[in-house]
């Protein structure tokens, strides 16, 4: 049974209602007008800014000439997950941020929405079926560990280069964070899975199995020429304070996954979100939309150090999330065996911003309590690379896998890696770029060595 047959692919009615799309699609007239605004820059800065280097003006020009299939293929050629990227990319700091029209006192071209327009048409037309799967047949065999964007992009490119690829994913549905972790008003699981099906249609095989337990790593090494690690990050960090395991405490990623997949999941009363990143904000906004009366986001530094994009922060304020700075939790308070509130201590910042972020110092005796019904810690994700990397002699760089950036090659030449487990947690598009670069490098590696020419 393919994931498409499972009930999950049907969007949840509640989510369709509570999470209308943040950036609704353009209709064809609006897309045409917008496409015609593009200047068709030479060596366009939007293309350079895109981690996957989609040829932006070329795909936009094709929209303006009515060549929608050509437009979609231009996008997919550089970025096989063009559909999800068109929805989740922080375009304001990528392509649209680089658009020259900013300096002409005009709005930048709405590149993200134009890309979405082309991709939506491509999928609506059932066009994936006609996508040229294999550019040239080859004989390599590659295993990709993890079923998220990095592996999908790597596998798709390897297929197009003619190799055989299998993706091993320990989750019931592939797609990684695209399926389970992106805010519902940006990307629905159904769209993520449409892309997974597209990658499958290129001839990529999927196995629902955990590598290291169900499938021993030695087996992969025996059966495959090269192995790509795209396992993303692990569970979210724990707060490490008393009361953390009480009912009513759920970390941001699990919270997002729950509401995206469970129709009966509801939120009431007061919610406290702890953390200042994009995921904290996604969770806080979702809590509002799911029915929370009040949502308080508490961050131990200030607005200036918050590791979220400023447009996410501003959006969250519009959603009605209240922000509190300079406080960190010391205890989750219980009543009747459930969460009743969070006890915080105020903090101050020490040291300058030069180089790193300022140090957080608790202010002695400055305790206060925020009563609440639900606590959502959002402290970032840990990494579970230890044993795999150690046993295979793969060098780490801090807590990430160390790679050669242009190729994704690790210190063990049979292993390549990309995505969050390498970059520490960036965007979907960064993972796609990593995966594709690795696939091209692996293709070169697997090329039969030309005979030495004598004479």
């Amino acid at each position: 049974m393919s994931p498409a047959d499972k009930g999950h692919i049907q969007p949840l009615a509640r989510n369709l209602r509570q999470f209308p799309e943040l950036h609704p699609p353009l209709d064809s007239n609006a897309a045409l007008a917008e496409a015609n605004r593009c200047l068709f820059c030479f060596d366009a800065p939007c293309t350079a800014a895109c981690p996957t280097h989609i040829d932006v003006p070329r795909f936009i020009k094709k929209i303006s000439t009515g060549n929608l299939r050509g437009s979609a293929l231009t996008i997919l050629d550089a970025n096989i997950l063009g559909l999800s990227c068109s929805r989740v990319c922080p375009v304001a700091v990528l392509c649209e941020g680089a658009c020259v029209l900013h300096r002409y006192n005009q709005k930048p071209i709405e590149i993200g929405r134009l890309q979405r327009f082309a991709m939506d048409r491509f999928y609506e037309d059932g066009a994936p079926a006609g996508f040229a799967a294999v550019v040239s047949p080859r004989t390599g065999r590659v295993a990709c560990i993890g079923g998220g964007p990095a592996s999908l992009a790597c596998a798709a490119e390897l297929r197009r280069q003619g190799h055989r690829v299998t993706i091993f994913d320990n989750r019931p549905l592939p797609g990684g964070l695209n399926t389970y972790g992106v805010a519902e008003y940006k990307l629905r699981p159904a769209d993520s899975l449409r892309e997974v099906e597209f990658v499958r249609s290129l001839g990529v095989e999927f196995q629902h199995a955990e590598v290291g337990t169900l499938v021993p790593i030695e087996q992969l090494e025996n059966e495959y020429d090269l192995i790509f690690i795209g396992i993303g990050l692990g569970a979210m960090w724990k707060l490490g304070i008393p009361g953390e395991d009480l009912p009513g405490v759920i970390d941001a990623l699990r919270f997002i996954e729950r509401y995206k997949t469970a129709e009966d999941f509801t939120v009431n009363g007061r919610v406290v979100v702890i953390g200042g990143g994009n995921t904290a904000i996604d969770a806080a906004n979702a809590a509002r939309r799911l029915g929370a009366r009040e949502v308080h986001l508490v961050y131990r530094r200030t607005e200036r150090q918050m590791p979220a994009f400023s447009f996410e922060y501003h959006h969250s304020k519009v959603e009605g999330v209240r922000f509190h700075w300079l406080a960190q939790p010391v205890e989750i308070v219980a009543a009747d065996g459930r969460v009743a509130g969070v006890k915080f201590i105020e903090t101050r910042l020490a040291g300058s911003d030069s180089g790193g972020r300022p140090e957080v110092i608790p202010v002695a005796g400055s305790y206060f309590e925020l009563p609440c019904d639900l606590v959502i810690p959002a402290l970032g994700q840990s990494r579970f690379l230890g044993s795999l990397c150690e046993s295979r002699g793969i060098r780490l760089n801090g807590r990430s896998i160390a790679v050669d950036r242009p190729t994704g090659e690790t210190s063990n030449p049979r292993y390549y890696a990309g995505g969050d487990c390498v970059n520490g947690g960036r965007e979907v598009v960064d993972a796609v770029a990593d995966g594709r670069r690795a696939a091209l490098a692996m293709t070169l590696r697997m090329e039969p060595k030309p005979e030495a020419v004598h004479g």
Partner: protein
């Protein structure tokens, strides 16, 4: 305040030079009266003759870069209403709008009697002038009228003579552009006694083809026929043809300029090349009669700014500045200069110069000669870029200035001053074409060959 009152051919008075051209906007008295209310100074009635039957559909257009109707094509014939109805309505309009100009456009079969008859009846109805439609390029020409007359100087001369035998009001001949030399017909009209010329009528065209059915547009039950092209796209052609007849000493007739006029700027251009009045069809079909307000307003403000008190003050001023190529000064030299403050770094000038001109714009800062375009693109595609991490990477955020490496440099020693970069630059005033080596004596091709150089 500029005075827009105009007199055409000594006898047709009009409160401003803006007339509606013969076509759908002047099909009936009701329309013409609303047009006069909106500010039009005159109207050339939709061509009157034995009523015809039109096809459905009749129009097709060329859209460009999201703009509708850059050019319009039609296969419509002359008026489909009885002659007496048109004449009755002309009389009615003249009675109610005595200060506005009503010119009757006429087309009948090529016999002396037919022309005598229609001229007399039209003038009796009160028309201020007559326009002989020798221009309609489709349909009517198959029946020996319209362009079939306008393409043969002798016929044009002969029919103009017939008309002049009885006409009491000024007679304008409307010229077709579908000839190799428009001056031949213009001179013939002059010989026949015409008092003025209208130019141009529409240009033979096929606007496009439906790529699903393979039927050219407009589609009439699965077939099409060539039509006449007009609208903004034809202005340059019309300006040239107006200049041709305005500069020809053997023509010497007042001109009503037509073709792609949609605003006061085009109006000023036609007048600078010798037109006395202006006629508009497509722009009124596109946006309605209301466009005349800005035509008059904009022209007056421009005239005030230049110190022109009347249309006559600047009519034909640009004619002396059009010469033959062989008289142009070969020692005049300009080069492109880029304003680094306003450049947005689109690098369109760079690729245009490399692929379409003289390879003298470089993207190398002030350093060595630049790489070829393909190498430049390949280099930036090979660069690894990542999404900035919020706050940590904030320093990377663009500060709203163009990255210096994207601002092109013109190699002035190699620049031939062709204008291409200046034409493609999307930022008004960012590239200027500056004169260099001023003061060198002027020398034309003619002079150079005469000097044996």
């Amino acid at each position: 305040m500029a005075d827009l009152n105009t007199v055409f051919a000594g006898a047709i008075r009009t409160p401003n030079p803006f007339w509606l051209a013969s076509g759908p906007p002047t099909n009936s008295g009701e329309q013409v009266m609303r047009a006069f209310d909106a500010g039009w100074g005159g109207a050339v009635w939709k061509t009157i003759g034995e009523p015809i039957v039109n096809t459905s559909s009749r129009y097709s257009s060329v859209d460009w870069n999201g703009q509708r109707m850059m050019g319009l094509n039609n296969i419509e014939l002359i008026s489909d209403r009885p002659i007496e109805v048109n004449l009755r309505e002309i009389a009615e309009v003249k009675k109610r709008y005595p200060r506005h100009a009503v010119i009757a456009s006429l087309m009948v079969e090529s016999t002396r009697e037919a022309w005598h008859d229609i001229v007399k009846r039209t003038e009796d109805a009160g028309a201020d002038g007559l326009e002989l439609n020798f221009g309609c390029p489709h349909g009517m020409s198959e029946r020996g009228m319209g362009a079939a007359v306008g393409q043969v100087p002798e016929y044009s001369c002969m029919i103009t003579e017939w008309v002049k035998e009885v006409a009491r009001t000024p007679v304008l001949v409307k010229l077709t552009p579908n000839v190799t030399d428009i001056r031949a017909v213009a001179r013939a009209a002059r010989r026949g006694g015409a008092d003025g010329l209208s130019a141009i009528n529409t240009i033979n065209s096929i606007t496009g083809i439906d790529l699903d059915t393979f039927t050219p547009r407009p589609n009439v039950g699965g077939s099409s026929a060539h039509g006449g092209y007009c609208g903004p796209a034809v202005k340059p052609i019309a300006l040239h043809l107006v200049q041709q007849i305005a500069s020809d000493p053997e023509v010497g007739l007042p001109i009503s300029g037509i073709g792609g006029i949609a605003g006061w700027r085009e109006a000023a251009e036609f007048i600078l090349l010798g037109a006395t009045t202006l006629q508009v069809c497509t722009a009124a079909m596109h946006y309605g009669y209301r466009i005349v307000e800005d035509m008059a307003d904009g022209l007056s403000h421009w005239m005030d700014g230049k110190g022109f008190r009347s249309i006559a003050d600047f009519r034909g001023l640009s004619l002396t500045r059009i010469t033959e190529w062989k008289h142009l000064n070969l020692n005049y030299q300009i080069v492109a200069r880029i304003n680094r403050e306003t450049c947005i770094g689109c690098d369109l000038c760079y690729v245009a110069c490399w692929d379409g001109a003289h390879q003298c714009i470089h993207l190398d800062g002030e350093g060595a000669k630049g790489a070829l375009p393909a190498a430049m693109e390949a280099a930036s595609r090979a660069r690894i870029s990542t999404t900035p991490i919020a706050t940590l990477d904030a320093s990377r955020a663009l500060d709203g200035r163009t990255p210096p490496e994207r601002i092109p440099r013109v190699d002035e020693a190699e620049c031939v001053g062709c204008n291409l970069c200046w034409l493609v630059c999307p930022v008004e005033g960012c590239i200027t074409m500056a004169e260099v080596g001023a003061g060198r004596p002027s020398q034309s091709w003619d002079e150079r060959t005469a000097a044996g150089g």
